[in-house]
């Protein structure tokens, strides 16, 4: 398009761009506002956080964050981290060979296996909850982080396999073929050739596992009480706060949300692919 031809229309285009941008910004800020408000409430004093009308302008203080962190919150955060990283590691250990056997050297009926796996992800937890609880009780694994690691692995493994597989299918065929001609065994092929090439896939998988495990609540609240309780359980203590602890609650909620929020923001591209099990790239 030449400059001369564009000029008469350009003002109209600019106006509509500004109008649509304004609308987009209003909506995005409205959606983001509760997240921002959570952080702001955490930076207030308790009277400010529960004031009528709400305090809009205030001098921020890190007091609440300090108080939450210096008292009883850290053990919950550590438990969350243990359950999250433990289960993510287990998903990768079990999932990488499985994805390999469903993509690069596929077993027969790979498709049936894939659909079986994903069906377990969407089986209601009602299906296995009671027996798992009884089993954990009999094995003295209630309120033990190990039980959460096992369960979170189960939740994330099917997603992880689908996702890792979608990355493996993208590898150039010749590369794997060449290694095979050189007589590389399956273990060597997976460890030395496939693994280094799908590091983005491993990152995306870890991110999705992190989100689901870190934010998980149902099993955490039913299978743990104190020793192994994770960060969402700490927030349960605020349910009947009645206005006395809003600022502290907000500080704890912000801290609990931060790891997943940051990870998701940094890896937005992987996020879409991960959430759709590799279907949308």
């Amino acid at each position: 398009m030449s400059v001369a031809a564009a000029r008469p229309r350009s003002r109209g285009i600019m106006v509509s761009k500004v109008a649509w941008s304004a609308l987009a910004w209003v909506i995005a800020i409205a959606f983001f506002f509760p997240v921002l408000w959570m952080a702001l409430e955490g930076l207030k004093t308790e009277p400010q956080a529960a004031s009528i009308p709400p305090t809009i302008l205030f001098v921020p203080t890190l007091m609440q964050f300090q108080e939450v962190l210096s008292r009883d919150f850290p053990p919950y955060l550590i438990n969350s981290a243990l359950a999250t990283f433990g289960s993510t590691l287990l998903v990768l250990i079990l999932g990488l060979p499985a994805a390999y056997a469903l993509s690069i050297r596929p077993v027969k009926k790979s498709r049936d296996v894939l659909f079986f796996l994903i069906s377990t992800r969407f089986l209601p937890f009602a299906a296995s909850l009671v027996p798992l609880y009884i089993l954990a009780r009999n094995l003295h694994l209630l309120d033990n982080i190990f039980a959460l690691v096992i369960i979170y692995t189960t939740i994330n493994l099917p997603l992880g396999i689908w996702l890792l597989r979608s990355f493996m299918l993208e590898l150039p065929h010749e590369l794997v073929e060449a290694a095979r001609v050189d007589g590389a065994g399956m273990r060597h092929e997976l460890m030395r050739i496939v693994l280094p090439l799908i590091t983005p896939g491993i990152a995306a998988t870890s991110l999705i596992c992190l989100i689901f495990a870190w934010n998980e609540f149902f099993y955490a609240v039913n299978f743990t009480t104190s020793t192994a309780a994770t960060s969402p359980i700490f927030l349960v203590g605020f349910i009947s706060g009645r206005g006395l602890f809003y600022a502290k609650l907000a500080a704890a909620a912000t801290l609990a949300s931060l790891p997943v929020l940051l990870a998701g923001w940094f890896a937005q591209k992987q996020l879409i692919r991960g959430l759709t099990m590799g279907a949308v790239k």
């Binding site: 408000w37 409430e41 009671v130 949308v280």
Partner: protein, 319 residues
């Protein structure tokens, strides 16, 4: 480029499997097992933790067994099912689950499409807008639910009533007066970004030349949306709605943190009822029967869901 590829690609499977038939049947079998070996640990793990417990759930559902009572479990046949199916609480919970899921998914899909269309236009600060938009999905749901209840929807100190005050809506106790609408609202807030991400990925993979050609041919914006864009993003929308409903059917954290299933049973969905029966009443038999009923209901929904998945698969195969 975004693309829906929900296909466990069979071409690779056929090529790999066909070329590797060994000279004798026994070596082919050996090769088959060698291929299966890396898959086995994961498969066995999944079967152990999901399938065997499910069989046990069915077994427990046929027993009269309460952990709070000293008597051991006793076989009672289908009695738990008779109790569960005639229990009004169960019917209410099924109804609430359906209402919550359909409303939350439908609204967040519509919002998601709208916002995705907006962000797909030439607007300022696209990257920042998308970053802000996905915030609600990433925040810990328990944390978000408490913040909504205590600082936004609170009848006295909440920001929502403060903002709505000037137009005469300042005295509403949202969570107690409109419990289900409040839960749906929080879920919509959380899942709209999810739908938006998927639809936006679809829009960005749309062929610009087709749109340009239609524009040159004099198609109006609405026509282009109706006949070109909408059919193109349909599989993405279906995928989003499908995944979203599978997650929202199971929603528990928001209800636990805001309404505790109440007032009365107004927001008790199946997961919350199961929680009450299993972990407040410790009625193992009844909880298991509810579990089996929930699985059957989910299977009905999942059948439709899987059909959608296969449609996407066929569309992809024809391309």
């Amino acid at each position: 480029m975004a693309r829906v590829t929900l296909k466990p690609s069979t071409d690779v499977a056929l090529a790999g499997g066909g070329a590797r038939v060994g000279p004798s049947a026994s070596s082919a079998r050996r090769d088959g097992w060698r291929r299966r070996l890396p898959l086995l640990p994961a498969l066995i793990y999944v079967i152990l933790v999901t399938q065997i417990p499910f069989v046990l759930t069915i077994f427990y559902s046929l027993q009269d067994w309460n952990l709070l009572r000293p008597e051991p479990a006793r076989f009672t046949g289908l009695q738990n099912y008779a109790v569960v199916l005639s229990d009004p609480s169960v019917r209410i919970a099924v109804w609430n689950t359906v209402v919550l899921t359909i409303c939350a998914v439908a609204i967040s899909v519509v919002f998601g499409i709208g916002i995705a269309l907006l962000l797909n236009r030439d607007v300022f600060g696209k990257g920042v807008l998308r970053t802000l938009m996905i915030g609600p999905f990433l925040v810990m749901p328990t944390a978000a639910a408490l913040m909504w209840k205590d600082t936004l929807l609170n009848p006295l100190t909440g920001l929502v009533n403060y903002v709505l005050g000037p137009i005469g809506l300042g005295r509403v106790d949202w969570i107690n007066q409109f419990p289900m609408a409040s839960i749906v609202g929080i879920e919509v807030w959380r899942w709209t970004p999810f739908m938006m991400l998927i639809v936006l990925a679809g829009l960005q993979s749309q062929n610009q030349e087709v749109l340009e050609a239609a524009r040159v041919d004099g198609a109006r914006a609405l026509q282009m949306f109706r006949y070109i864009t909408l059919p193109f993003i349909r599989p993405f929308v279906e995928l989003g709605a499908l995944l979203g409903s599978l997650f929202i059917v199971q929603s528990f954290d928001v209800i636990f943190m805001t309404t505790q299933g109440g007032p009365g049973e107004a927001t008790t969905n199946l997961p919350f009822l199961l929680y009450l029966v299993a972990f407040q009443g410790f009625d193992i038999g009844k909880a298991s029967a509810i579990g089996v009923v929930a699985v059957i209901l989910t299977m009905i929904v999942a059948t439709f869901a899987l059909r959608t998945l296969f449609t996407i698969f066929h569309v992809e195969a024809r391309r």
